[in-house]
């Protein structure tokens, strides 16, 4: 449990890791999401430390299975370990990941202070992923998955997900 903030990932493993995406947000690879805290290969076995986004997130089991399958396809075994400390934070989502998320239709997490203001309805700052307006309001703090909140745009009237800041 002494993982640092910077993940320790073998460069050779990156192409395979990049081929595995989040089942709920398929545009994000597991690397974009920042859930891989360690991936090292020793004697043809890939040891992966996976940090869950939310404790009960069902996507974690799927990600584990997908990783195992991806490495099996190139003849490598995997040992996956779930690690809780340090706890995953939305800060670990890559910048590229945040951009892909926005294009996909999910507003990327704001910083902690802005996030609180947005979720408490104090400020209209969450940008609609459809028309770009910030004239939006919170419909529910919990959206289609635990990690998202549901918003609605008051200009174009479209509902959209906002990925909540987790820090």
């Amino acid at each position: 449990m002494t993982l640092t903030e910077e993940p320790n990932i073998d460069k050779e493993l990156i192409p395979i890791l990049e081929s595995v995406s989040d089942p709920e947000i398929p545009v994000l690879t597991v690397l974009d999401l920042g859930v891989i805290r360690e991936a090292i290969e020793i004697n043809n076995v890939v040891y992966i430390k996976l940090s869950p986004t939310y404790s009960g997130c069902p996507a974690m089991d799927v990600i584990g299975d997908d990783l195992t399958a991806a490495f099996k396809a190139i003849g490598k075994k995997t040992e996956i370990q779930l690690v809780l400390a340090p706890a995953w934070t939305t800060d670990w989502i890559s910048e590229a990941g945040k951009r892909k998320m926005e294009v996909y239709g999910i507003a990327a997490p704001l910083n902690e202070t802005a996030d609180k203001e947005a979720l408490l309805g104090q400020k209209k700052i969450v940008k609609c992923t459809n028309c770009g307006s910030t004239n939006t309001h919170l419909v529910s703090q919990f959206g289609s998955t635990a990690c998202k909140a549901l918003f609605k745009c008051d200009d174009c009237q479209e509902p959209f997900d906002y990925f909540k800041c987790l820090k």
Binding site: S55, G56, C57, A85, A87, A146
Partner: protein
């Protein structure tokens, strides 16, 4: 094995398991789609946390039992959750009232548990606190919305708070395992949280135009495994599949 530690973990985890089960009952039955999803998301968070606790307990016990055995195969008396979390959902006011009265406590407890000398418990607490702070915000928000809403919503919210209030004091009872764990620097002295719990709860109730109950009599027993009449039904529901098909997996 450190029996005190094992019991301590079970005590914390059982609260979340049973509350999570109550929330899960609302799947498909919430008053609106958004609330339904929110409540079941919270249930999922709690179950996720519970899995970490039970996995740790199973690892300590090392007796061949898994997290699922601990969750599903115990008899009623072996569950050590507080009476509050097993109370039925009755109506939405009760769902929110129960959640709120527990969330405020849960958040305070986890804040302290983060600095446990037990690395695993500290890690679970650090992970869980991020989720539970959303729960607390959600339930406080609804208490205010209902209390400060229509005459009917105010009356129903008040009724739920009045009915559930008698279960709050048990949250701060210290079992022998709790005491041993506090002494070892592992556990949280929950009795010390009481001082800040009631002012915090009262603050939200006042904002919600609700009356803070003045009841002085409190019901307790869950921490000793002596549960209310609702617990048997809850367990029957929860344990049915595992008892019918032992070891089944989705």
């Amino acid at each position: 094995m450190n029996q005190n530690l094992y019991n301590y973990i079970i005590g914390i985890a059982d609260n979340s398991l049973i509350l999570g089960q109550r929330l899960g009952e609302l799947c498909g039955h919430g008053p609106s789609l958004e609330t339904d999803i929110a409540l079941t998301n919270m249930s999922l968070d709690l179950f996720g946390q519970v899995r970490s606790y039970y996995q740790y307990a199973a690892q300590l016990a090392n007796d061949g039992k898994t997290e699922d055995d601990i969750a599903f195969m115990r008899l009623e008396r072996a569950y050590k959750n507080v009476l509050l979390v097993e109370q039925p959902n009755t109506h939405f006011g009760y769902v929110i009232g129960k959640q709120f009265l527990f969330d405020v406590y849960h958040l305070m407890m986890l804040e302290k548990l983060q600095s446990s000398t037990d690395q695993t418990l500290a890690a679970i607490a650090k992970k869980s606190i991020k989720e539970v702070s959303y729960h607390e915000r959600f339930s406080s928000d609804w208490v205010i919305r209902l209390g400060d809403g229509t005459e009917e919503s105010n009356q129903k919210m008040q009724e739920a708070i009045d009915a559930l209030w008698r279960f709050t004091d048990e949250l701060f009872d210290m079992t022998d395992d709790d005491k041993a764990m506090v002494e070892a620097g592992i556990g949280v002295d929950v009795s010390a949280l009481k001082e800040s719990y009631y002012p915090k709860v009262s603050e939200v109730l006042k904002e919600a135009n609700l009356t803070v109950p003045e009841r002085k009599y409190f019901t307790r027993g869950g921490k000793q495994g002596v549960h209310s009449e609702h617990m048997g039904y809850l367990l029957a529901d929860m344990q049915y599949m595992q008892r019918s098909f032992p070891g089944m997996k989705w």
